[in-house]
């Protein structure tokens, strides 16, 4: 099922990225997930074809395409490597943040390097707060932290949302023990005085709008995971024989596939739709629904693979872990639902 609002350019992008992912990512993705290393050479390659400056306008060396174009790109890459897709998404979004909030001088200095991939940007994705010990210090998770040259995070200073940009320094610690998204170079830092020194700060006019777009990008990764898990489960069920029959012929497997497909289709449409209208609530609903769906779909996918879903020889095992990370990353889904409920009633 496809969304009616896709233009030719989105379809072409999807096809181009499909080929890119299958050629550049599929042979290395499982190995790099095990090692917890980023796919840096693929990052370089996608930079060469302009995949790192999708949202940046042509005057700064980017392609100046719409947000849906980035969504489609990320979704397609995520079908093979959710980690890589996340890295690409966050880099592009970092560029857009500079474009939207940065000073003219700052834009001139960084945007060309960012849009061509000469410089990699990272960003803290946990815009929604995470729990901390009472009296503890807040910590942030930065995607692309290990291999970026520059990174940003948002913080409230004097009741105003600010976007803080820093050159990468020693305060970033590599998170080597992440459950999933192990090739996204995730790092963390403590939000103390040190973190706030020697930086550039820009005001964010509409913080909710900004964050909801980032969360929708995470949802597009989840959306790719949904499609890929479904496709994998379908082909596996058409290959695997048990009781002298293909497992695809069993009613219980069929209902699982139907449940997976319903959520995968719905996720895609709700994400595309939300990326094309200017509505924060739509984006929040889309991103919570899709990240939860991806966990559901991968869980069922693992189930259809049985023992083979539990081992690292097949991608379902990785998809499951990656999906769980997405669901929690930008704030727990359950917490975000409370906020959605609040918006719906205010």
């Amino acid at each position: 099922m496809d969304w009616m609002g896709l233009k030719d350019e989105h379809k072409l992008l999807r096809q181009d990225m499909k080929r890119f992912a299958e050629t550049e990512l599929s042979s290395v993705v499982l190995e790099m997930d095990k090692k917890g290393e980023p796919l840096t050479s693929a990052m370089k390659k996608i930079g060469e074809i302009g995949g790192l400056g999708i949202l940046i306008s042509e005057e700064f060396g980017g392609a100046g395409m719409d947000f849906l174009s980035l969504i489609v790109t990320v979704e397609e890459l995520a079908k093979i490597s959710p980690s890589f897709a996340l890295s690409v998404a966050i880099h592009n979004f970092f560029g857009e943040a500079i474009l939207s909030y940065g000073s003219t001088e700052f834009k001139k200095e960084y945007l060309f390097s960012l849009s061509t991939g000469k410089m990699i940007g990272g960003m803290a994705v946990d815009t929604m707060n995470h729990p901390i010990p009472s009296n503890g210090c807040e910590e942030r998770l930065v995607v692309n932290g290990t291999f970026s040259d520059i990174f940003g995070f948002s913080v409230k200073i004097d009741e105003k949302e600010q976007f803080v940009v820093k050159k990468k320094g020693e305060e970033l610690k590599e998170e080597t023990e992440m459950m999933g998204m192990r090739s996204s170079g995730i790092s963390s830092f403590k939000l103390d005085e040190n973190a706030m020194s020697e930086d550039k700060r820009f005001n964010i006019d509409s913080a909710n709008d900004f964050y909801s777009r980032m969360r929708l990008l995470l949802a597009s990764v989840a959306c790719g995971i949904c499609q890929a898990s479904l496709e994998n489960a379908i082909s596996y069920s058409k290959e695997r024989h048990q009781f002298d029959r293909l497992i695809a012929s069993f009613g219980m497997v069929r209902t699982m596939l139907a449940d997976m497909a319903s959520r995968a289709y719905a996720s895609r449409i709700v994400v595309y739709q939300a990326s094309s209208v200017n509505n924060v609530l739509d984006r929040e609903i889309a991103s919570v629904f899709t990240t939860e769906s991806s966990l559901y779909v991968t869980d069922k996918g693992v189930q259809i693979y049985g023992g083979y879903g539990y081992i690292k020889d097949y991608p379902l095992e990785m998809f499951f872990r990656d999906a769980k990370v997405l669901e929690v990353f930008a704030g727990s889904a359950d917490y975000r639902k409370v906020l959605i409920g609040k918006s719906l009633t205010s």
Binding site: K34, D126, N129, H130, P131, I132, P133, S134, G136, E139, L141, E175, E177, M178, M179, G180, H241, Q242, F243, D244, I247, F250, M252, V253, L295, D299, V302, Q303, G306, G307, G309, Y310, I311, K312, D313, E317, F320, R321, K324, V325, E327, V328, F329, G331, S332, A333, D334, Y335, K337, V338
Partner: protein
């Protein structure tokens, strides 16, 4: 229906195991997962306590306790370290139990005694690359040639695989006869033609060993047949009746461990300056988890109690317990992980390990879908 209640002896045993798990295992469990190595040092301590033979009579080297005690053991260990717990479960309910139930006196002397004492480690070879849910589709073959069995084939996803000294396994004497062509056998490590193969790189339970087993023209003495010829299907179906309760209680233990941790975390951590436990969304997760775990607990201990009473087979009750507890556990672990936020995503906190570990419980010893088939067959009489 009368629900099972713990006797004082059960309670004392539970407290003993719980104390052990807290003292010896709690700090180790993360390390066991990180290293992904079989925790010999822990197993040795468990063996010294006689816990590798909990439900077997003393004359066979066991502790002479009941099935409920064994289930208590697995739960308490699983609350802390599922890798260790599944090692025990595979050893006791999948290797010792079929020998105890089907073995000759000589076989019990020779195999069950050292297994119960923990001098040897046991394993159960049923699953094959092409025979997972459909164990009747066993492709490993056994041929009686003179007074020797000639075994050929491959087993896969075998818990304790290459650390096991004694392996109970199934092979087909006549593939045409499907389930009625299968017999059960015992093989010892070091037998010529038998070898443990590739070790699986798994999502979770990384301290437990899962390997392939290869038989290539492996010759076994005639007396290594377990039970009667062509009755292997019955041997493993009965073994799985009890095995399912073990997997169910493993899931229960993991879920309980997750809940315990979640409660503690919600008390001590705050979100936006407000303690987590004061949020209704957190309260809902905790309340649902506690309720579902309670329901699962009743199913599990009911099945164990029925087994102890020995009045009937526990096929249906075991399947229900496993089905429900394993699905509850995945749900509970995942939800509590969400309470922890990003702390739920790294090994510094145990929740992500709990989720990775518990996912197997919906797959191992019959997927949830197979459990549903087993239950519906009991209801409809096939």
């Amino acid at each position: 229906m009368k629900f099972a209640e713990f006797t004082d002896r059960h309670k004392a045993f539970r407290d003993e195991v719980r104390g052990f798990a807290k003292k010896e295992l709690l700090d180790e469990s993360t390390q066991i997962d990180r290293k992904g190595e079989f925790p010999w040092h822990i197993i040795n301590k468990i063996k010294e306590r006689g816990w590798l033979g909990v439900p077997f009579p003393e004359k066979y080297g066991g502790l002479g306790l009941d099935a409920t005690s064994y289930i208590i053991l697995v739960e308490e260990i699983a609350r802390v370290c599922a890798s260790t717990a599944i090692m025990i479960a595979a050893h006791v309910s999948l290797a010792c139990q079929p020998i105890y139930a089907n073995g000759t006196e000589e076989q019990k002397e020779k195999y069950l005694v050292p297994l119960s004492r923990g001098e040897k480690i046991g394993s159960f070879g049923l699953t094959e690359p092409n025979a997972g849910s459909d164990a009747g589709g066993t492709e490993t073959t056994a041929k009686l040639i003179g007074d020797k069995w000639l075994i050929n084939g491959t087993k896969r996803f075998i818990t304790n695989g290459h650390v096991a000294d004694v392996i109970v396994f199934t092979a087909s004497q006549d593939r045409e006869k499907k389930t009625h062509g299968i017999s059960a056998f015992i093989v010892e490590k070091g037998t010529k033609g038998f070898e443990a193969g590739k070790e699986e790189d798994k999502m979770g339970l990384r301290g437990s060993i899962t390997s392939e087993l290869h038989f290539e023209d492996c010759e076994l003495p005639k007396e290594n047949l377990l039970g009667k010829e062509y009755e292997g299907f019955k041997v493993f179906m009965e073994t799985l009746d009890g095995g399912r309760i073990s997997i169910g209680v493993l899931a229960l233990g993991i879920a309980q461990g997750a809940l315990d941790y979640g409660i503690e975390y919600a008390r001590e951590y705050s979100l936006n300056g407000k303690p987590l436990y004061k949020y209704q969304w957190v309260q809902k997760i905790i309340a649902d988890a506690a309720t579902e775990i309670m329901a699962a607990r009743h199913l599990i201990y009911h099945a164990a109690n029925l087994k102890d009473r020995g009045e009937k087979r526990v096929t249906e009750e075991g399947a229900m317990a496993k089905l429900y507890a394993s699905e509850v556990s995945t749900r509970v672990c995942s939800k509590i992980q969400s309470i922890l936020g990003k702390d739920g995503l790294t090994k510094k906190y145990p929740l992500e390990r709990f989720l990775r570990d518990t996912k197997l419980m919906e797959i191992g010893e019959g997927t949830s879908e197979i459990q549903r088939l087993v239950i519906s067959r009991q209801i409809f009489g096939r």
